[in-house]
């Protein structure tokens, strides 16, 4: 039953990488995944803090301060959170590349 549904022959798989002939140790895989989860926890805390934190829950309190002519809570809700979101994605992208090289699970192609 499972066999016919789960064929593992993807039609749109990413290209082969220089790791294809290699065996990656279980230990490397586990540590890689745990480092990823730790990084995610850190970045998602920032994500929560700038939007739900500074933009909503703490916004009224933050409004007593001012930044570039804005009340601070208002600035976070209508500008700051969006800038932070952009930064978070690029930081994640860059940190993950480093982690992947460290544990040998990157997706660099064979000839690069």
């Amino acid at each position: 039953m499972t066999e016919e549904i789960y064929d593992h022959q993807g039609e749109n798989l990413p290209p082969a990488t220089h790791h294809d002939q290699q065996t990656i140790s279980e230990e490397n895989l586990t540590t890689y995944w745990q480092s990823n989860l730790r990084l995610l926890a850190k970045l998602l805390s920032v994500w929560f803090l700038v939007s739900f934190g500074c933009g909503i829950i703490l916004a009224d309190w933050l409004d007593q301060f001012s930044l570039f002519g804005f009340k601070l809570g208002f600035w976070f809700a209508q500008q700051g959170a969006i800038y932070a979101f952009v930064a978070l994605i690029f930081i994640y992208s860059w940190r993950m590349k480093t982690l992947e090289h460290k544990f040998g699970v990157d997706d660099d192609e064979e000839n690069s």
């Binding site: 499972t2 549904i5 789960y6 593992h8 993807g10 039609e11 749109n12 798989l13 990413p14 290209p15 082969a16 990488t17 790791h19 294809d20 290699q22 065996t23 990656i24 140790s25 279980e26 895989l29 890689y32 995944w33 995610l40 970045l43 998602l44 994500w47 939007s51 739900f52 933009g55 909503i56 829950i57 409004d63 930044l67 570039f68 002519g69 804005f70 009340k71 208002f74 600035w75 809700a77 209508q78 500008q79 959170a81 969006i82 800038y83 979101f85 952009v86 978070l88 994605i89 690029f90 994640y92 992208s93 993950m96 590349k97 992947e100 040998g104 699970v105 990157d106 997706d107 192609e109």
Partner: protein, 563 residues
């Protein structure tokens, strides 16, 4: 040349461009049709995603909505951008590694059942059709406003253009037209925004002008002055909110998680070559989106300030030209209640000026005294925004039908050629159905578009997230979760919007959460049920657990694991 001729010229030129791209990028295989061959450059995909994402509503209505909601409008700004962080960090890279064509593909294989796939298809069609109906209507309205044709004619022209590149080119055609559409729409949005920022604050960058002093010598900043004038007229202060904190929290969350669960956005990340490209591409997409989303609140405040300044307590005779231009369309109006010939604008019953929120973007070029070609450009931008979103939605609907329902469930033996033919047919049918929705809009459409997000958050997002991050999640848990989330959210919305609209006030809401934000609660229910059921039923087969291991690492498909 008159503005009207320029508008026709710009819009037709943009159509020729889109159709040209469609002919150049015809799809030759199912892989081309569903995922543009899986070889789109991350920056290109970022632009296409941004155009896919920003609909006629983002382009025309969002600044106006924020203009009238003030601080409460922040839910849309944070909600419709924050979801990209979740997408880039939690979903897109893993779904790319999984390497199939559609979102139900993942759910069907990860939860090893045709049942799960079909439930996902139902969620997808539900979400996408609610969304696309609003888009086709938007296409019609944009056409009728700028080209002065009937809404129906507008919808038919829009359908014909989308038909050309969606049916011919599939995802490949759509991707490259969306790149062109993004360039048109962002240029059309920024030019008037920059000029209106200079007009009000002397600062050419709207995001900075937003916090600067007004150049009328008062020494007040834009927001201080806006708070002051609005309070004098009896409105709430612009920078003060009226919604409860819990409702703002829930709406923002529903929009964010919903964004991350929208199939037409997720599938865009199936088109880049690699896992690391998917992450990067989500970053570029958000940059391109943020350009418009950080400008919109600035435009909102400038336009509101300018509106009060030029209209309130000025005589009708001396009203600016744009006011009389747009009065003919019914988007602005004046009724002289006290017969003094002076326009009086206020929050009270003595208000004489009516303003449609869309005017905040539509009339901007005229308010800033820009030449006719800018107005023509804004028209082309509005059309681009509406068409690009409609095309993206139609594609996910047609691939769900041809790939998930036909190829993977009902007719597994069809050849690739036949599947491609079915995909084109499904796209053609979807375009026609969406067009009918646009011509004969069901009364509920305008109200439910925003709820597509709640439904996506409550149904698809948790199933995808748990499928990647929680290996023991099994089909029983995931299917129950999706159904509970979908049915709960749907019933809550239908109850308050259609069954008992008179009860749609904060004291009757569950925990004070409005129907717009209830998707967040639906999502929590989904996760709780999924966990509960998965604990008391059989764990997923070993094969599926290996699949989860495999999608968690970016390295190649054929890689061996040492167990």
């Amino acid at each position: 040349m008159t503005t009207q001729i320029l508008t026709y010229l710009f819009v037709s030129a943009s159509f020729i461009l889109y159709i040209g791209i469609a002919i150049w990028s015809r799809a030759g295989s199912t892989k081309d049709f569903y995922v543009a061959g899986g070889g789109v450059h991350p920056v290109m995909n970022g632009m296409a995603t941004a155009a896919d994402w920003m609909s006629a509503a983002s382009f025309i209505s969002m600044a106006g909505i924020i203009s009238f909601m003030g601080r409460d409008g922040s839910v849309y700004l944070m909600g419709w951008t924050g979801g990209y962080v979740l997408l880039a960090l939690l979903l897109a890279p893993y779904l790319r590694k999984f390497g199939r064509f559609t979102v139900p593909d993942f759910i069907g294989e990860r939860y090893y059942s045709k049942g799960a796939r079909i439930v996902a298809v139902i969620c997808l069609i539900f979400i996408s059709f609610t969304y696309v109906a609003g888009q086709m209507r938007g296409v019609g309205i944009v056409f009728s406003r700028y080209l002065e044709v009937e809404v129906t004619t507008g919808v038919i022209i829009g359908m014909a253009v989308v038909f050309m590149y969606a049916v011919l080119g599939g995802m490949k055609g759509i991707t490259y037209t969306q790149v062109a559409q993004y360039c048109v729409l962002i240029f059309a949005y920024m030019v008037p925004a920059i000029f209106i920022s200079i007009m009000i604050t002397d600062n050419p960058i709207p995001q900075l002008g937003f916090g600067s002093e007004v150049n009328d010598g008062s020494g007040l900043s834009v927001l201080q002055k806006l708070d002051g004038v609005l309070m004098d007229l009896g409105f709430n202060a612009y920078t003060a909110g009226t919604k409860s904190t819990i409702d703002v929290f829930a709406i923002t969350a529903a929009l964010m998680f919903g964004t991350a669960g929208l199939p037409h956005v997720l599938v865009r990340f199936f088109t880049v070559p690699k896992v690391s490209d998917a992450r990067l591409s989500a970053g570029y997409a958000l940059v391109f989106i943020a350009i418009l989303y950080t400008t919109a609140p600035a435009v909102a405040s400038f336009a509101r300030l300018n509106l009060v300044d030029t209209l309130h307590n000025s005589s009708y005779e001396q009203a600016p030209q744009w006011f009389s231009n747009w009065e003919q369309t019914g988007l602005v109006g004046w009724e002289d209640k006290n017969d003094d010939g002076i326009m009086h604008y206020s929050a009270g019953s003595d208000n004489e000026v009516t303003v449609d929120r869309d005017i905040m973007v539509l009339a901007n070029p005229e308010i800033a005294n820009l030449p006719g070609w800018v107005i023509a450009l804004v028209a082309a931008g509005g059309v681009a925004a509406a068409l690009s979103t409609a095309a993206g939605l139609l594609l996910v609907i047609s691939s769900a039908i041809s790939h998930d329902v036909l190829k993977k469930t009902l007719m597994p033996n069809i050849s690739e050629k036949q599947e491609l033919l079915f995909a084109r047919l499904a796209a053609a049918v979807a375009v026609c159905v969406a067009g009918l929705f646009g011509i004969y809009p069901p009364a509920f459409v305008a109200q439910v578009v925003a709820f597509a997000f709640g439904l996506a958050a409550a149904s698809l997002f948790p199933a995808l997230l748990l499928g990647i991050f929680y290996k023991p999640m099994n089909k029983e848990g995931a299917i129950t979760g999706m159904l509970v989330g979908l049915i709960f959210t749907f019933s809550y919305i239908v109850y308050f919007k259609f069954v008992s609209p008179q009860l749609n006030t904060a004291e009757h809401w569950l925990f004070g959460i409005s129907p717009e934000g209830i998707g967040f609660i639906g999502m929590l229910l989904n996760i709780i049920c999924a966990f509960g059921i998965s604990k008391i039923t059989n764990p997923p087969p070993l094969e599926v657990q290996n699949l989860v291991d495999d999608i968690r690492i970016p390295a190649g498909a054929g890689i061996a694991h040492q167990h």
